[in-house]
Every structure is written in C-alpha cells, then in structure tokens.
Symmetry: C2
Subunit: 606 residues, 2 copies
Amino acid sequence: MNLWLNRLASPVPAGPATPADLARYELESAGIRAVLQEDPSMGDAYRIDPQEDGLFRLAGGKTGLLYAAYRLITAQLCGESILSPLSDAPKYALRMINCWDNMDGSVERGYSGRSLFFENGRVSYSAERIKTLGRLLASAGLNVLCVNNVNVHDPAQRLLEDYLPDLAALADLFRPFGIRLMVSVDFSQPMRHGIPTADPLSPDVRNWWKETAAGVYAAVPDLAGFLVKADSEGRPGPFTYGRNHADGANMLAEALRPFGGYVVWRCFVYNCRQDWRDTATDRPKAAWEHYAFLDGAFADNVILQVKHGPFDFQVREPLSPLLLGMKQTNMAMELQLAQEYTGHQIDLYTMIPMWKELFEELPADSIMSVAAVSNLGNDENYTGHPLAAVNLYTYGLLAWNPETDAEAAVTRWTRLTYGFCSAEERSLVSLLLSSRRTYEKYTAPLGIGWMVNPHDHYGPNPSGYEYDLWGTYHKANREAVGIDRTHAGTGYLDQYPEEIRHKYEDPDTCPDLYLLFYHRLPYTFRMKDGRTLIQRIYDDHFEGLEETRALSAALSRLPFPEPDASVIRERMNRQLYNAREWCDIINTFFFRLSGIPDEKGRKIYD
Amino acid sequence: MNLWLNRLASPVPAGPATPADLARYELESAGIRAVLQEDPSMGDAYRIDPQEDGLFRLAGGKTGLLYAAYRLITAQLCGESILSPLSDAPKYALRMINCWDNMDGSVERGYSGRSLFFENGRVSYSAERIKTLGRLLASAGLNVLCVNNVNVHDPAQRLLEDYLPDLAALADLFRPFGIRLMVSVDFSQPMRHGIPTADPLSPDVRNWWKETAAGVYAAVPDLAGFLVKADSEGRPGPFTYGRNHADGANMLAEALRPFGGYVVWRCFVYNCRQDWRDTATDRPKAAWEHYAFLDGAFADNVILQVKHGPFDFQVREPLSPLLLGMKQTNMAMELQLAQEYTGHQIDLYTMIPMWKELFEELPADSIMSVAAVSNLGNDENYTGHPLAAVNLYTYGLLAWNPETDAEAAVTRWTRLTYGFCSAEERSLVSLLLSSRRTYEKYTAPLGIGWMVNPHDHYGPNPSGYEYDLWGTYHKANREAVGIDRTHAGTGYLDQYPEEIRHKYEDPDTCPDLYLLFYHRLPYTFRMKDGRTLIQRIYDDHFEGLEETRALSAALSRLPFPEPDASVIRERMNRQLYNAREWCDIINTFFFRLSGIPDEKGRKIYD
C-alpha cells in the first residue's frame, strides 16, 4: 500500500483519546521531540516554535496540535527544515468529505471498490482501515466526513434510529483524528415514525426532528450536522408541501442549534425531466433561480452547499453564479474527487489545476466551507487508481489554504508517497499537473461537456444526452454547435456580476476553453489564434491522444513500487483505449456534421 | 382473460392421455358430434367429412385428429359451415416456438412478465396455465416448444441432468396437445462432467453426448431435439477447437439420431466486437460467409435455423440470403414474436404483413420448418399486450400454411377473441394490419434500422449504435446516409441470386422501403414518386405519428372487455409518447445533418 505518509508504518494504537494525545504519539513515533501546549481558543490553528536544541514548542487548539504534529512530520519526511517560528490556521472551518456510500455496501459513483463503512445493510468496517484513513485525512487537514450517500436509500435512515450506537462507535474511532462525522438525512424521515407529513412547518415534524437531534447528539456529541439533498432528482423535500428551501433548512437548523450542529443543504435542484424540445429552459440557470432570492433567509447554522459549476462536475464549467450571489448566507463549494465524468479513476486526472482556477474566480470570504465528494473505497489503495490519491491529499491542502500552489501541493504528495529521486519526482509532478488538460483535450471540446455515455458516464457518446431529459444539450448541426447563454441567448450569463459577464459575453474575447459553454458558433468561427473552431476541435483531440500516448510511455519509465506499478499499467492501457475512442469519435462526429476536413490531413474516419 | 378460444371455457381435465382423447373431449365440450378414425400414416394431416345428420367423420394421424377437432371448433365459433369434405396438412414438419426463458424466472427480451416454466433456478409452473397454453398452441397448429433460452445460463444445463424428471413431467403435460418439447443445450456441457474439452471430434465428448441423449430420451421419448446457439455473442462452440459448425452439429446429430431427434443449429454468427472504424466488415454478410460453403455437409437430422433477415429482427430487412442458398441442407426460418425491436408489446405491431412478404420471396421447399421466438410470459393474458396474441396465433396459421391470407388470419383471431359485431371487427382487423407500417414510419427510415436505444431496444437513439461494436452503422453525415451494399459497395447483394440482385441493385428501381438498407444516398436523391429522400423521411415520420394518433382514437371506440380495455389504453398512451419521440427525434436528427427544411412547413425542432 503506497499512500502519502506510508513511511509512518507504525499503526495508530487503540490508546489515544484526543487529538493532542495522538499528536504526541505520532511525533514520538517519528522521533521528533516536541513540547505541546494546548490553547482551546486556537481551535484548528497552531504555532510551531523551533528551539535551538532540535526541540519544537507547539501551541494550538484541541485539533491544532495534531495539525502541527503532521506539519512537522511531513516536513521531516520531505526533508524540509523548519528553522523559524510559523503559525497557520485553516481558511475554512469545515473541510468536508462527502461519502456517497450506501448501506448495502455499494458506493454511488464509486470507483475504488465497496464501502469502507457499510455492508449488507449494516455499519461494517475494519477499525484498522478507519484509523489509517483517519490519519490520512487529518494529515491533509480535513475535519468532517459525511458517511452516507446524500441519496438516502433504505436502511440508511436507521443511522439516526437503531443503528445510532454503530454511528457513535465509528465517531469514536475518528475523534482522535479531529474528524467529526456528518450524516445525510432523508427529509421525509418523520413519516417513517407515524407522522403523516414531512411538512417543515408542521409542529409534529419540527418536534420529531428536535427529539431525534437530541438523541443523536447524546450519542455523538460532536456530530458536525446533517447533510440534505432535497427536491432533487427524485428526493423528497419542502416543495412537496408548498414550502421553500429556507423553510426546510431552517426547520432542521432549529433542531440542531442547541448542539452546535450545521445543516448542510445541497443546492442541486433542477428539472431532471426536461423536454429536449424545450428551449426556454436552460439547466445551468436552475440553481440561481431556486436559491438566490432566498439570500438572507437561512438560519446562521445553515450552509448552502453548491456544486462548483452550474451543471454537474464536467471537465470544464464556469464557477457557479450562486457562489457569487449569496452574500448573506453561509456557503460551501462542493468539489468531486470521485471521477464520475473525469475518467472513473481509470484515466489519470489530477484536479488541482481546475480547483485553482475556481478559487481564483471566487472572491475571498464568499464561502465559509468546502466539501468534496469522496473518491474513497475499500480497495487496498483506498482510491482505485494509486495516483488518484493526489486528489484527496491536495484537496485537503486547498481546503486548508486555497492559495496553496498547485505544483507545490502535488510535489509534496509525490514526495511523501513515492520518495522518488529528483528527476523522477519532477517527471511525475509534471505528468500529474498536465493530466487534466490532456483529458479535457480528448473529451468534449471547449466547455461543451456531456458528450459522454449516459448513466455510466465513461467513454464518448456525442449525442448520448441530446434527446434526453437532463437538460444537457449541444444542439450541434451542420453549421454550428453550442448554446448561446449570453444576454441575447438563454440569459444565463446575466446571473453573474458585470466583470464576469464582460469576460465571457463576446465570443471574440471569451477565453477559448469556455467558448462553447457560453456561445453557439459556426464551425468556421475564427479563434483568437487564427484557427477555425473546427480545426481547433480536431487539433485538441489529436493532441489529447498524442499526449496520452506520451503519458503512458513516461509513466512506464517511473520506478513505481508494486502493487502500484501493475495497477497503473493496467489502468493506463484502458485510458489509451478510451482516449483513442474519444478522439476518433468526436472528430468523426464533427466531421460528419461539418464536412470540413482536417487541415493537417490526419485520419478522421468518415 | 381474453384469448382466442376463450369461449371454450371448460378447462382441460387431467384425463386425456393422447391427442385423440383430447380431440374427443374438446369436440364433446363444444357440442360437436364426430366419429374419429386414427390413421397413423397421416401424422399431422386430417380429413373432415361432414355427414347429412350434422355428424362429422374425422380421419387423421395421431395429432391430425386434434387439429381436425380444433378446425371444427374454430369454424363453429366463427360461424363458418363445413359443408363439403376437406383435407389439410401442414406445410412444415416442425412449427416451433423458442422460449428465451431463464431458470431464474426472467425471460430474455420478454415483455409479458416472468417465465411460465421456471422460477428460482427450478422448473416451476402452474399445470392449469400450461394446459391452457397447450390448447392455445395446438389450436394454432404449433407442435414444438423449446422451453429454455438459447443463451444457456446456469443452471439450465441441469435440464439434461438432475432436473430431467421435471422436464419429463412438463413434457407429459404438453403431450396430449401434440406439442413436443425441445431443449436449448450448452455446447460446452461435457466440461461440467470432468471432460477437459468440448471438441466435437473428441471421442469422449461424442460419447458423453450419446449417453446423455440416451438418458434424456428415456425420460422424454418424443423430445423434438436440441436447439444450439454456438460461437455467437459469447456462447461456446466448435470454433474454440478449430472445428467448423458442421463438425459441431453433426456430432450432436449422431447422438440424437437413434431417437429421431433433431439438432436445430442457429446460424447467428457475426463479429459482435467490430471496430466502428472498420469499413471492410459488413455484418449482414456474416451468416452467408460462415455457413454457405458448408451446404451438403450437415447430417440429415440437422436443421439450420436462420433469422429471417441478415441483421436481427429489425422492422424491415430483406430475406436472409442464407435461406436461399443452402439447397442441400435442412433449413428453418426464424421469426420473432417477442417485440424486441418492434415496440416491446407496448406499441401495436402485427407481424403477419411482414411475414407474408418474407414467404413470398422464399421459394417453395427452401425451408422445411419454421421457428419463432416466443412472446409468452406469465402475465394474465400471456402476451403482455392483449393484441400481441394475434402474432402468436397467426404465426401458427402461417407455419401450417404460409399461403394463408393475412387479412383472413387476423380476422379469424379477432373473431375468436372478441366476437365483435361486423363493423367493429373490420375496424380492429384494419388497425392491426396497418400497425406494422405505422410503426415502421415513425421509427428508423426505409430499411436503415438500428436507430434505437442500445441494450433495451425501445425508443429512438439515432446514433446509439453508431460508434459501437455491433456492426450496425448508418454513417449519416451532412450529405448522405446509408451503407452501399451493392457489388460496388460491401458486396452483400452479391450473396443473392441474380433476380434479387437485379431488383435491389439500382437505387432508381430498388423498392423504396429497402432503399437505405442497400444504398448510400444523398438527402436530395429523388424517389420514384418525385419526392426527395429527406422529404420522404419527414413525410413518413409525420404520417407515422398522425396514424398513431388515429389508431389511438379508433381503438378507444372499440368495446374491448376488461381487463383488455384498460391494458390497451395504458399501452396506447405509452405508444403515443414513443411515436412522438421517434418522429421528432428522427426528423431533428436529419434536419440538423441536412439543413433541409420540411417542404410542408411542419414543426421540426432544431
């Protein structure tokens, strides 16, 4: 098992009861001499004072001391010296992982095996693996783990009912790592208990949730809160009762307030039964339309969790306008480590370059927390593809500090995980950093998204969604492709502040990679570099395939240890197949439509 | 339950041991006075001599007497008088139904509920329902029923092993109806019994099959034989051992010969892993290429069972060239009652007009038997859609006599089933007879096929197969659509005799409805009636939708009894939805490609 910190071979004993205890154990195991001073007011923050005799004085909050310890340990493992005092504190209070694990042991959009937490309808896990996971997450700075799928399928409701002792035992295991659990709840759950409604304004419903929360917090006093997916893709919610989402979220918030819990309310509402003939509806507008007018209406322990883009975790989407427009509401941005649309942990896809772009567009303090859909599973290496672990680790670094440099973060992960020599390390870091752009090149072009096989979301299907109910259309015809989302089109762009509208409104100045997200353009449209749109599509696809071949060759030269080497080789071969299919099918699709040959005479199948 | 002969309310008692006994019982129940004389040499044939006193003298073979009885009973129910002597005999010796039932109770491509024969991995049935089914099949003239799926999934092999007594008991139930069972066998079955190979030339394998056949025939002495799908879509077969299909079939034939059994060998071999970029391979050519050179090499108790068209039960396909080219081989034509590609027994689709076209192209005596994939299941009405029963019944009539008139056959079924008044009967018969052409109009145009959702095969997906592994491509681009299968193209047409080649070779004279099966043509191609190809596509689709709406209105005016009325109404609503999706999506698909508007200005979504 090759994971960052895998050189911390010593298992975490059953002993440590608090993060500070664990910090002492980890430092001692690593041979680092330190004096720890807990200052409860510091929370996650810490200060490290190096002393002249090799001793470190650490000050920090309850969890801050543990983060300080991992900071020292990773510095030591990376050969970095801490010679002068440093202080650090996370930018975001809640640094969350959302596991989409079902109690039958399956993981929705999971590509790393089965659930680490559930099997056969019960809570079921290896305590050793949970502790290893706890160390991994804490060392990356993450502090909240939602254990069950936002789509709450029976019997996951029982986590708040008769399975509550099991939830509490799991929380006990994670507690020394400073990791608090969260639970996805079923908005209609009161109806399992003889209440004929789930109306958030019903006194019976409100009381049921209050009593339930009291019981849950008696068992898990530090539960981070409830995660809710309501009125989305078939889930129940307030709309059923003619209430709005503030009514729904605030009702739960009231129940959790006495215990310091949060309601994390997912803003993923759209019409998933759209008629493809309906051009008045534009799905990316849905989140704003459903939530923006409620700004200021949510309780102070409600957090709206918004997917980073207005669609659904495509390779390239603009930042969701909702993240920019709710100044008086607690907001969290949701990322997705699980490679649902980005290669299923078969294709290499390092996400931090994408995340950096998002954070750069996001004004300071427009969000107070971050969440990411988990890429974890019970595969030996936890993330299916060994190199997909870079996404978990670097997500933690960015969640702590979004200004973290992408290359530095990937380098740190690489160094901790493989301990390669310098040239090899630089090679792997460079391959990882370019992998997203490569994937983007051979898949759907220039921000258009969705040219993927429906349902399973792997492999090309250029018209797979074109006549379906999901609101995700490209409307490619023999002349042009894309949807006009400017003021003159669907008006999606009007949901943004002026400077963003200005950046994207004009196809002549709109950044290339977002061009077909915002505009409908003829194949003969001239890009800023003089190429036509169709030639750019061909060029990107041929380049993406060539880059994948080069990636494969370069990876094969790196001295990965086993079993990583074998798994990487096997997945790389599947990526090569996938990249060729994407390249040829997308090029053929556009060639058949446009009739315009490749200027460079490369083979496009007709 | 409204089924033909449903006015024969009396259940078949446990008593009758032979078809002649059953004939007597059925005649007596119907109040028909008859004297029966068995002449074993007559087999299925019979003679009816009406006497002056209302008595009938019947002569016939063992099963012929039963067919004579049903002939008399249906005539009586239909109000037809038999005033002069008549003789009849079936055209084809084996009139087969192939059930694709799995032992877990599912039915592959089944749209009528679960299996009538299996559940939970065991033989499991209602004896009453089997007897009702026996009467239905016998009264339609059918005489062989293969009970299990040609894709032999575990544990269906056990029908020849420890489940043999269950098979024998089921055979006992069908025997009085003159229906012999057949079993689909797994070519690799000897390997379940310690033999390291299934090579048909291995003495151990040959002996295993001989011994197995002896055991099977001891239990079911009149078993019709074995049905085999080998080397097809992942099934095992002789190719594994470098043998040809004559080697494989003849080996089994040798084992069955002592008992009078047939080997029915399905000729459905093609490359189901084709690369869509490969234009040298044309799937319709596969059957001929795999089998034609073996003509004369098969044993006399082998029957090659060939799907009626070269693809796979599309709405319109030419007659398979293999059915015309194997003069020295026993051939059976395979039809499909299950509406796999023809509306899932949701959309109304009466098949006899299609079958009549096939039989008209088929020279006399080029086949010796017919088979049809079953549309049966354990739904109350046996066929899912009550009106889908017309396909089962009229298949029987054509299997007996392919010269049966389509309108007469459908009228007989309608009269036996519903007993409507004359105007209503004429209305329903007309709706049934036109239903196939309507379905054809709103689905894939002019013989091109396959524009259907992959996997489930219901609903439109114009490019669903276009980049897939199945060899079913239309290659539509902005100028043209279709595959040239003439001598100048893939050469498929060269597999036919001269007169057929001549009929289809030239697009200017090729019958319209086969145009895009044989030719690649520009959208501006002029049809024989002066319309352009693209206009013809639009016209057909709008007409198909309009006809469906008219069909719905007309059906709603007919006095169907319950539960048929409710089921028909519910399915008709789904057909209306499906027809609109097909019409609009296919028109939009071709409009986006061609850019040519509808001459009549009807709405095509862009």
